[in-house]
Amino acid sequence: MILRPGADDIRLIAFYLGKVLLGLGLVMLVPTVIALFAQEWNSATAFVVGASLCIIVGSASSARFATRRPLTWAHGMVIVALAWLIGAVFAAIPMYLSGRFGDPLAALFEAMSGLTTTGMSVIHDLDHTPLSEDLYRHLLQFAGGQGIVIVVLSLFAAGGARIASLYVSEARDERILPNFIRTARFIFMVAGTFLVLGTTALFLALLGAGFTPARAIYHAINLFFASFDTGGFSVMQSSIIYYHSLSVELIVMLLMMAGTLSFGLHFALWNGNPRDVLRHLETRTLAITSTLFFAAVAFGLLRTGTYDSTEALFRKGFFTLVSAVSSTGHQVNVGDTYLTDWGVLAPAAIVGAMAIGGMASSTAGGIKAIRIGIAFKTLVHDVKRILLPESALVVTTYHAGKRRTLRDETSRAATTVLLLFLVTHLFGAMVGLLYGEFDITQTLFESVSVGSNIGVSIGVVSPEMPHGLMAVYIVMMWLGRLEYVAVFALMGYLLSLARGKAKA
């Protein structure tokens, strides 16, 4: 029997959603200040309207529905699923008002792409976007990459135990410290440290590449947000190619790798336990799959004669692979190149790398290496069970923070999410084909890139793309970022609202 949620449940959800909107409004104040300082009046107006709406609605909601009732897992899931959807809608308001998007759907696409750290863009005339709007797009990636609900609620001190369910619902299932506020603070500390060091390193590299100090700092900050949060937005249409700098590419690759490392593993490194990182199932899975994928990329590119030097192979092929695995989406090739010059094998390997994505509990997207590792362990476990005598006890273990025994429920959960990702990728590819403008290579590549929150584009996503496909991609980005569970919980909740039995 399904119980219908009561008024108290709705009140609790509205209270937390209000807090999230309030936080989003505060995020919008940063580009507002920059817009006023840079005398970008049109952008400043858009941000003032957006921030005011968020702050008014958020404050009203959290004041009107104030409650001290504890959260349950169901509440956590519903709040997170709704927060990412409503947050994207409100985040799209200043974007639409800026006049750089054809319609509200395109602005919503950009906002969802930013928050989910996908990094696909449908903005018009990116190269001439005002400073404040560029910063806003990149700040959204930072907020989304760190986990917007956690960012907001840890700032508003909602209470450690109470936000535990939200932390898990945002697809952050790895508990680093016993207290969730301390976990969130550790995440901020890691991000803050990399912000200072990464921005400084990029600033120096850009100075070396001939940028003026003012332009160098502007590009460095945005590049940092896009790289460490594995977002992939860019200040320039040509993405990383614009810089023509090996040192910028190397720093960006390092930041992408740091971003794809789970916060649990950052914690192990901060505490001087590198062996924990090397033994972790996820590290090993990523190492093996990435090596194989890069070997396929190198073989494919040399066979088609696209590149013939080590430097070109490293700067184009290896960079693209790191960008795909980390789910960042920075490009060192124009979109068409994958189609016209890369042959078949290299793009296929990139699709495989994009599908897997990075590590769980990091800023990266995709199926996640831990699920691939568990699925492989499950396969080996099942084969052993078939081959060994029936009386034999087969126990499979793996290392993930500590030695763990492979359990049926872990295997089932990993393979279910893996299957859901694959089905979504195929669905997105099929919808793309319906428009008759793209072939299967293009639609599959783009669908995997969108569904795994990567952002490497083969050219399907553009300001002129079909609206139906844009809407499907928005949902895919939302599903991929929350790894399905929270969205399904929301659907179940809506169903119980409509058909559930009233509580006694």
Binding site: L197, M253, G264, W270, N273, A400
Partner: protein
């Protein structure tokens, strides 16, 4: 992952170690990528 924190250690020292190890890990990945590139160019180039 639940691990023991070194509460007595200043966070700056932890941060230096953490970032240093991430850079070392990244450089190792670069080296592997470069080695694979060289190997494939030598064999197929």
């Amino acid at each position: 992952m639940m691990a023991t924190t070194r509460r007595d250690e200043p966070w700056r020292r932890q941060a230096v170690r953490g970032v240093g190890l991430v850079i070392a890990l990244g450089l190792t990945v670069f080296a592997i990528g470069a080695l694979i590139s060289v190997a494939f160019v030598l064999v197929m180039g």
